[in-house]
């Protein structure tokens, strides 16, 4: 009973958040200074007739509620408008960019989480040793580095050894699928490395402090008295309970990953969602921006929803 209602509540909350974000997105681009027409028309001295035609074309002459409904209807049919810069549907642009971002960011994030957890556990169980001091200080150092600085340093260090820009080699022709895969993988190394280094440190520090806390709990002492092996105590007692705050923190950090991806994609000329948004800002491509924000919001909300579900699975106490 309690478990079902928890799930419903979380689902409802996630849907509500998405809806609010959609609405905000609509309002945001209508309260920006200047009328929509003077912004979209690249014709500085457009005649009143042209302005009127444009307004009609985009439905801007209708009441705000109609516009809102039109916007919602568009969203549900996957119609996010047309990009100003390349005259392609925004939805298609975004999907392509997203497809490029996803492998890089997800590999980087997953590796960063694994590395962070490993380093965190390692220094927690060896608390106070040289190994702990080294890895903790190193983590603090990487945590403090701005993404763009770290990215450029790696670029300087490895330029020439590893490909430094783009998804793949634009001049390679007639590669076998295997060669193409290798080429793409090589291009991915630097951006993924930057992402790992900027993300792992935070995870490592959280895992360390969270592990230290659970290692001091009475149930860990009881587990030791029970004669359990060290590995078992760490996995099913300390880490299992330390996971709870870790899941929350990782979920909260996911929003930052997207912004981190923007910097990384710009540095390594990665044609992903981050760079698409960066370009859209430079070119005042409002429909692209609007669509991009929306997708990022939805992704973050969905990831947090997944974190909630994981939490639900991990902690029997959330329901009561």
């Amino acid at each position: 009973m309690g478990r079902a209602s928890y799930l419903w509540k979380r689902t409802g909350f996630a849907l509500m958040t998405v809806f609010v974000a959609i609405t905000f997105n609509f309002i945001l681009f209508r309260v920006l200074p200047g009328s929509a027409i003077t912004r979209i028309s690249r014709v500085p001295n457009a005649s009143p007739a042209l302005k009127k035609a444009l307004e009609e074309q985009f439905g801007l002459d209708r009441p705000i509620w109609d516009q809102y409904l039109l916007y919602l209807k568009g969203l549900f049919t996957g119609n996010l408008g047309i990009s100003y810069s390349n005259r392609q549907p925004v939805f298609d642009n975004l999907m392509e960019a997203f497809g490029n971002t996803l492998p890089m960011v997800s590999i980087g994030t997953i590796l960063a989480i694994i590395l962070g957890i490993a380093v965190g556990i390692h220094s927690a169980v060896r608390r106070g040793t040289v190994a702990d001091h080294v890895s903790t200080n190193l983590a603090v150092l990487f945590y403090a580095f701005p993404t763009q600085f770290l990215g450029m340093m790696l670029l300087i260090l490895f330029a020439g050894v590893l490909p430094s820009a783009g998804l793949h080699d634009p001049f390679a022709i007639g590669m076998t699928p295997w060669e193409e895969f290798l080429d793409r993988a090589k291009h991915m190394i630097l951006p993924v490395l930057t992402l790992i280094l900027t993300l792992y440190a935070e995870n490592a520090l959280i895992v360390r402090s969270s592990m230290l806390e659970t290692l001091g709990e009475d149930y860990v002492l009881t587990a030791r008295a029970k004669g359990l092996s060290r590995g078992k105590i760490i996995s099913s007692y300390a880490l299992r309970n330390a996971m709870l705050p870790i899941v929350t923190m990782v979920a909260l950090a996911l929003g930052a990953i997207v912004s981190g991806a923007i910097l990384i994609e710009v540095i390594f000329s990665w044609p992903g969602i981050g760079r698409a948004l960066y370009d859209a800002v430079l070119q005042r491509d409002y429909p692209m921006l609007q669509g991009g924000f929306l997708i990022i919001t939805v992704v973050v909300v969905v990831l947090n929803y997944i974190a909630d579900l994981i939490y639900f699975k991990l902690d029997p106490r959330v329901v009561d």
Partner: protein, 555 residues
């Protein structure tokens, strides 16, 4: 030494010249404290020994050393013999096979002894399967058996720790400790966090199990009553040494060591109280009158019609408190005693009834008018470690109420008042304490500072919520005597909450027994103890462990 007295068999557990040092690398070089000094004692199979002492005396360290559970900063020397074999000489690896199978432990924090994310059954099964005692369906049967043995239903196996009450959890912990049929059970303050009634049940269970299973029990506690009622022998520890060791009767009747004597003197005993003559009191005017007070659970933000269906935490109780009177509000946790005090202070909403302070109604008055009232009514909290702001010096803590109520026009005047109240609570000379921070004070001193901050405004009424339950026995009497003195010298009315009937009986003029939000009995200590009218008071009285072992033996 003790081997000679009971020696027909070999001891099940023996400590020989155990020494523990704690190192700290915070200082330059290695700084060590000698925590345990040459502790030696032996326990026969089936014997129950109590290890008694105040906090910091090393009793927990002693038994943790036997389990090899001390932190890495501890250096251990000496022997711990289990059936004649030294188990601690070969370090962690040498000790692990003995853990739980031969020597098991019940820890102090019953509330957190279980992994919160696994079921009770899972955790008991784990112990069984790690030591290859049982496997598969056999394990499930054994878990059910164990749970029944400690008086729990087998369904508890499927529950998570947070779904059990404190007493049930402690029973489950004991079931887990006994899962591998250990010969020795070490119990570290197994009942400290529990209510007196539940404590009594758990102690009875431990005694019964030790008899049925011929289990050797080492019970670590600060409570002499607990030892007297459940152990055959006791060892008294002071500053890391055993100062006295012997049968509980002997310790109670003819303590050889000064410290043992002072411990017994500080432990309230209901039997002594009954022997005391009653002093006649002149009736004084009532400072506080509570009439049909009702407080309900949940917040009252909901609609009025719904609010009536909420369960009552305090259910129309009435009592009064006169000047110079000390009234004790006694009951188990959850009986509504703290809620009552909060309602009197106006910190929570009152559903019905009235609270008269000096004859004027305080229920439902606006906050603005309540402010001056707070001057006449002050509070003392349970935990002196949390009641004081760690960033405030003693002076700041005591000066704060003066500043809030704009008492004392000049700095010098306030300084005078602060010093006077410090002297009153026995912190003399006051100048030595003024600039100290809470971490530079002992627990007893902290509670005195908290009391000084409460009395500096010269309140007419003092509300004390378990003022001594966090303190060691020898400090308790000091704080309670201080409260006693305050009501005589300043005619203060004191309402003291306590779960401990014996403390209440020793110090209060009147005892009010509460249960489930209702007052079940109200009267002078002597009449309540001599002739309790309600069954509940009888149960409470019965559960209080007497430091006199002959009063009630459960063997």
């Amino acid at each position: 030494m003790s081997r000679k007295t009971t020696a027909s068999t070999d001891p099940a557990l023996e400590f020989r010249n155990l020494n523990v040092w704690f190192g700290s690398r915070e200082h330059k070089g290695r700084f060590e404290t000698h925590t345990i000094r040459d502790v030696s004692f032996a326990v026969m199979p089936g014997e129950r020994i109590g290890l008694v002492g105040e906090s910091g005396c090393g009793k927990t360290t002693t038994i943790l050393a036997a389990m090899g559970l001390l932190p890495a900063s501890a250096d251990v020397a000496g022997e711990v013999l289990l059936d004649g074999v030294d188990i601690i000489s070969k370090g962690e690896a040498g000790l692990n096979p003995y853990r739980w199978k031969d020597i098991a432990m019940v820890f102090q924090g019953a509330m957190s002894a279980f992994n919160p994310v696994k079921t009770i059954g899972w955790q008991i099964s784990e112990a069984l399967e790690v030591h290859r005692i049982t496997s598969g369906t056999q394990t499930r049967q054994r878990v059910a058996e164990l749970l029944e043995m400690v008086g729990l239903s087998p369904e508890v196996a499927g529950q998570f720790p947070h779904q059990l009450s404190g007493g049930m959890k402690q029973r489950a912990v004991i079931a887990m400790a006994l899962s591998c049929n250990p010969k020795v059970l070490l119990a570290d303050e197994p009942t400290t966090a529990l209510d007196v009634v539940v404590q009594d049940q758990i102690l009875q269970l431990l005694v019964q199990l030790s008899i049925d299973l011929n289990l050797t029990l080492v019970l670590v506690t600060h409570d002499l009553g607990v030892v007297a009622q459940s152990c055959t022998r006791a060892a008294v520890m002071l500053n890391g040494e055993i100062v006295e060791d012997g049968p509980v009767d002997q310790l109670y009747r003819e303590p050889r060591h000064e410290y043992t004597k002072s411990l017994f003197e500080a432990t309230p005993n209901i039997a002594d109280i009954m022997a005391r003559p009653i002093e006649k009191k002149v009736p004084k005017p009532n400072l506080l009158e509570v009439r049909d007070l009702t407080v309900r659970y949940g917040n009252s933000a909901g609609s009025l019609s719904r609010s009536d269906s909420r369960p009552a935490a305090v259910d129309s109780i009435s009592f009064s408190l006169a000047a110079g009177e000390l009234v004790a509000l006694v009951g188990q946790s959850g009986c509504g005693k703290t809620t009552t005090v909060q309602a009197i202070m106006g910190m929570i909403d009152v559903a019905a009834g009235s609270v008269l302070v000096n004859g004027s109604e305080t229920v439902g008055i606006p906050d603005r008018k309540r402010r001056p009232l707070r001057r006449t009514m002050q509070m003392i909290y349970q935990d002196p470690y949390e009641a004081l702001d760690v960033r405030f010096t003693v002076r700041d803590t005591i000066e704060e109420p003066l500043l809030i109520h704009k008492v004392g026009e000049s700095r010098a005047k306030r300084q005078e008042m602060i010093e006077a109240s410090l002297e009153e609570v026995g912190l003399t000379p006051a100048s030595r304490y003024l600039n100290r921070y809470p971490h530079e004070l002992s627990g007893g001193q902290r509670q005195r500072v908290a009391i000084a901050a409460s009395i500096v405004l010269r309140p007419a009424i003092l509300l004390a919520d378990e003022p001594v339950s966090m303190l060691d026995v020898t400090l308790r009497s000091g704080v309670l005597d201080l409260l006693d003195e305050l009501r005589h010298s300043h005619e203060m009315g004191i309402l003291m909450i306590t779960h401990d009937l014996s403390t209440a009986a020793e110090h209060a003029d009147r005892i009010i027994v509460m249960r489930e939000g209702k007052i079940v009995e109200d009267g002078a200590p002597k009449s309540i103890i001599d002739s309790p009218k309600s069954d509940y008071t009888k149960l409470l009285l019965d559960s209080v462990p007497s430091p006199d072992p002959s009063v009630k033996r459960r063997v």
